[in-house]
Symmetry: C2
């Protein structure tokens, strides 16, 4: 009896409509139990190097974590991975909601989608059965329509749908995958990969009961969380992820006007508090989670919203709001709705628009290119219009749909100065000048700048749970935010491993579990006699395999770079503690990072012995043709 | 309120009779909570490089572990460290019994002994009080006499005494420290260091109650162990550590005749079973432990024993028995008694005698040197006489008291071929040809060949608890005994960390706790919200600091060597699975070990980034004058 998982992986080839089922050994799950670890395993094993990410030879992998779907709060997450069309490198994105848990109830732990369908299709997985169904009638539809149509034609309102919108169909390079309309596997352009395969959706419905090794013990943890979450993360429940906005602004680290500034004069109009007092009408949550940090909003008037979509997260508020100089929460909510409807990553979308606004203000783009839109910072109407144009690849939207790196190349001049990205992926709404450890984290992240799996320094850890959690790994004292000493790099590495662990488990990082509870959860679900050590080694495997994937793709240490802007002080609103990153310290810190990771100091390549220590000696062979000096 | 520890370290300078008390921060304990980690901290911080280990500038450090003395089975252990006179390198030795727990009840966590007393003294520590007392009347006394005298003059039969015998007084380089007569901090020659300071004993008696953070939770673990130990380690209780003798012999890995053979024709006469059926009259245990694996024996006749001393452990039976070709359990018991009375490490003593026997048989030593003793393999009487002569440094005993490395140099010729040691410390009774991972473990151990902190491969892990325990770190499958692949080196590293962890905790390695229970124990005792990760990082700190200590002493990778004998097949009794170690594989495996440890491949020096990752960046400065190439 294997606990906590189904022991089955579905493989679907859309080119020849072949479907097969694989049954990995239990040890496979124990070594790569979900998230980045399992995604990296499949991508490294199965993709040929240097393929076209939008070609049929790319594979799109949906994996659940070992805890996904277990009856414990926070277990509603899963990961989707593929080679990224945005970065041409390792790509993955996590997502919460209900799809992952429902998928696991179908009897599968993962789906590997290969090839390309001749015509639009969707996949319908229900209780061990899988069907490839026609999706011609869904193609071009906004996500709310297509979800409604799928549920209607399959006649089950409890079906969960992971799908792309028109943006994914049109291969917008940062198209996302939308789950249950309210949850987004946002980053790395996974929606474009799905679109390139003519796969509109994966609809799931299952009735399998997960075997839990020790339901009673798991129940005790669930009960603890339910009884204590409000005390521990009550503000998250109350204000949603936007709870951090005011604080970041006060510290001078709220991304403003394409990262030119760190404080936004309109911050209090778009804060979590402001949302609560204005457009918020309810809260929503994810599978088995009592926290309910998601927002339900109502907007009437010129920015009237479709009520089937949800309200914006912090990342979206900052990306479409402060970073575009926009202090109008209704416009932001509308922009957010359009991102959900078109299936666009709101972080990259906001960045792309802010980039275009800066270019417009600097004269690098004119009325001519924008089709008459006054693309200035603060213009909420223009922002909303741009989201739509990107989703439809119309006008300038077609260029911005390529991501800021490529768009800047086309625009030329000093547009590249305005393109805020790492490895081609746009910067999330955490200002690295406020948290210098994050600067290195952004630079070395295999997916490009990422807000999910990098630690956010210890700046905000003083009051709360995170410091206690990291303390349990032996990091006993917080470090100054602008520190870039080896101690900070150690914190970065441990913190990144910690976040990656939540992802690999299929558990939400916001849940205030201590490590001992995480181990308890894994032991209760799987029956494995596991430890924090074993769990963190799974994530280390993921981080290393993703790195190797990128090396195989030709990426080098030159790609572990930050936009130049971060090495200069903020040009407005500098009253906070955000400081320019010192180039020398940053360069030195990266080398420290490589060496501390067990990577070659010059090439950033994982040493064979590090891979062997992680129990993934097979990965060494993947490096052979690419770095003669270290193997 | 600090839990689990007293927060006080006693510093005693015997030269000027100054005593002072230090109160380290709680974080100090959390980073270096005992055992090798705490010893290495003090030696690295406080000793000048390249001092005379028998000079007043050496320091002798007695440390308890964070769990020592807590009411949980196995917590009776502590560690004693100093620069070793046997290896001229890092030295430490663990010991069980009752001394450590009693010491902790005096109100101190550690004692640092500095300088050298003008005349023999002993230290009397009782409930925060410490006195330096005259020991002239104890000097020269066997351990049982001197213990009786101390208890009588202090008028308390519950006093616990850690002391040296005449061997330590005479600076036998492998003199041990004897605790409660039955327990031995055997290795590294800590008794000689104590003797060099004119310190006969440390007597302790305390009434402080240790503050336990969560006594109820700790009680539950204690209860579990007490209810389950017999099922889990019943054979250990029944047969003592000698339980392994028959099995090792059957596999061809019982050290026989100075490691020339691996099977001993007299094995069944000296096995745990044989002892049980002959001289065994009772069992004894350590503080708070129900297992009682120690032997109580009675021997009458020519080898009549003083009943105040205990019976032999496996290591002693093999060292004085099979490795000297002796199948007479009574002679072995007598030899063991003399080791306890003189304060001699029985492993090194047995090795020294076996070395001398081989030299005698090969004509390198003759009647003349041995004073007429027929020093042949199998001669029980000669062995017993030799133990005495070593303890008294009389005749050839004076030469053998220097350890086999130095003795071989004096004898010359091919005597060095017979000197079985690593870094000058004699080989324990685990044949590395039977467990090739152990071969590398012996070679790289900072104290020279060591049986406590190196893993014993997975050979015997199949039936029992150890494999389950190591599985919890992610090593899911056992490996063949003669494997020396990177996977085996990973096992060696994790296994060594595991053993070192028990030592640092002050907990006995024989206790069948799982990692989750170890974490439970630490959390219950200290209130720290700890993890397996944090605990194993403490031990990794210890291993790295000890390595740095040795580099500072001038040791190089050349010192990570094994006796040549192990690279050739066993010359007798080769029916088992023991196989010659292949020199090339061994050399390669060592490099793998260095790199996997985060050490420089050529110099075996810990990389600064590894030390920084361990949170001991201060150690980098210790390396500076010694290895320009890596800092």
């Amino acid at each position: 009896m294997v606990f906590g998982l189904n022991g089955k992986v579905l493989r679907v080839n859309l080119s020849n409509r072949n479907m097969s089922v694989e049954t990995p050994e239990e040890d496979f799950y124990r070594r790569y139990f979900g998230g980045r670890a399992m995604v990296a395993y499949y991508l490294l094993r199965e993709l040929e190097p240097r393929i076209d990410p939008l070609g049929p030879e790319n594979k799109l992998v949906f994996v659940s974590g070992i805890v996904t779907g277990a009856p414990v709060p926070g277990s509603g997450r899963n990961t989707i991975g593929a080679k990224s069309p945005l970065t041409e490198a390792f790509g993955d994105a996590d997502v919460g909601g209900f799809w992952g848990a429902e998928f696991k109830r179908t009897g599968y732990d993962a789906v590997i989608v290969e090839g390309k369908a001749k015509r639009p299709v969707y996949l319908w997985i229900h209780d061990d059965e899988a069907e490839i169904r026609d999706a011609s009638h869904l193609w071009g539809k906004a996500t709310a329509e297509s979800q409604a149509l799928i549920c209607r034609e399959l006649d089950d309102r409890w079906i969960r749908v992971a799908q792309i919108g028109p943006a994914g169909e049109r291969l917008v390079r940062y198209a996302c995958i939308v789950c249950d309309l309210h949850h987004f596997a946002g980053r790395s352009g996974m929606g474009a990969v799905m679109g390139s395969k003519n796969l509109k959706a994966i609809a799931v419905r299952g009735h399998k009961k997960l075997n839990i090794a020790d339901p009673k013990r798991l129940g005790a943890i669930a009960k603890w969380l339910s009884s204590n979450y409000f005390e521990l993360v009550g503000e998250l429940a109350d204000l949603g992820t936007a709870q951090v906005l005011s604080g970041l602004n006060a510290l001078g680290g709220l991304p403003t006007r394409n990262f030119l500034g760190g404080t936004f004069e309109g911050a209090e109009k778009i804060s979590g508090e402001a949302m609560k007092e204005s457009i918020l009408i309810d809260r929503r949550g994810c599978y088995a989670c009592p926290i309910r940090c998601k927002r339900v909003v109502r907007v009437e008037g010129p920015y009237a919203m479709d009520p089937r979509y949800g309200g914006p997260e912090y990342e979206t508020i900052a990306a479409l709001g402060s970073n575009c100089g926009i202090a109008d929460l209704k416009a932001i909510a509308k922009g957010n709705e359009l991102c959900a409807a078109y299936g666009l990553d709101s972080i990259s979308t906001g960045n792309a628009i802010a980039f275009a606004m800066e270019c417009f203000e600097k004269g690098l783009l004119t009325d001519k290119e924008t089709g008459g839109v006054e693309l200035r910072f603060g213009n909420g109407g223009a922002m909303v219009r741009m989201v739509k144009m990107i989703g439809e690849r119309s006008g300038i939207g077609d260029l911005l749909a390529e991501g800021v790196r490529k768009a800047a190349e086309v625009i030329g001049g000093c547009a590249s100065e305005c393109a805020m990205h790492v490895k081609g992926q746009e910067i999330p709404m955490h200002e690295p000048r406020l948290k210098h450890g994050l600067a290195v984290g952004y630079a070395v992240s295999p997916t490009g700048a990422d807000h999910c799996l990098n630690m956010h320094d210890t700046l905000f850890a003083k009051q709360g749970r995170p410091l206690e959690r990291i303390k349990a790994l032996g990091i006993l004292k917080p470090l100054p935010p602008d520190d870039l000493s080896p101690a900070k790099i150690r914190l970065l590495i441990y913190g990144t491993d910690e976040r990656t662990l939540f992802s690999c488990l299929g558990l939400c990082y916001f849940l205030p579990y201590e490590y001992s509870q995480l181990v308890d959860i894994v032991q209760s679900v799987t029956g494995w006699n596991s430890t924090t050590w074993e769990l963190l080694k799974v994530t280390e495997r993921g981080v290393n395999m993703a790195r190797v994937f990128n090396i195989r793709e030709g990426l080098t240490v030159q790609d572990d770079e930050l936009p130049r802007r971060f090495f200069a002080p903020l040009t407005s609103g500098t009253e906070g503690i955000a400081k320019a990153i010192r180039r020398e310290s940053f360069a030195k810190a990266k080398v420290t990072y490589y060496k501390m990771m067990g990577w070659d100091a010059k090439t950033g390549t994982p040493m064979p012995e590090k891979l062997q220590e992680l129990g993934i000696g097979w990965v060494v062979a993947e490096l052979r043709p690419f770095s003669n000096d270290v193997v």
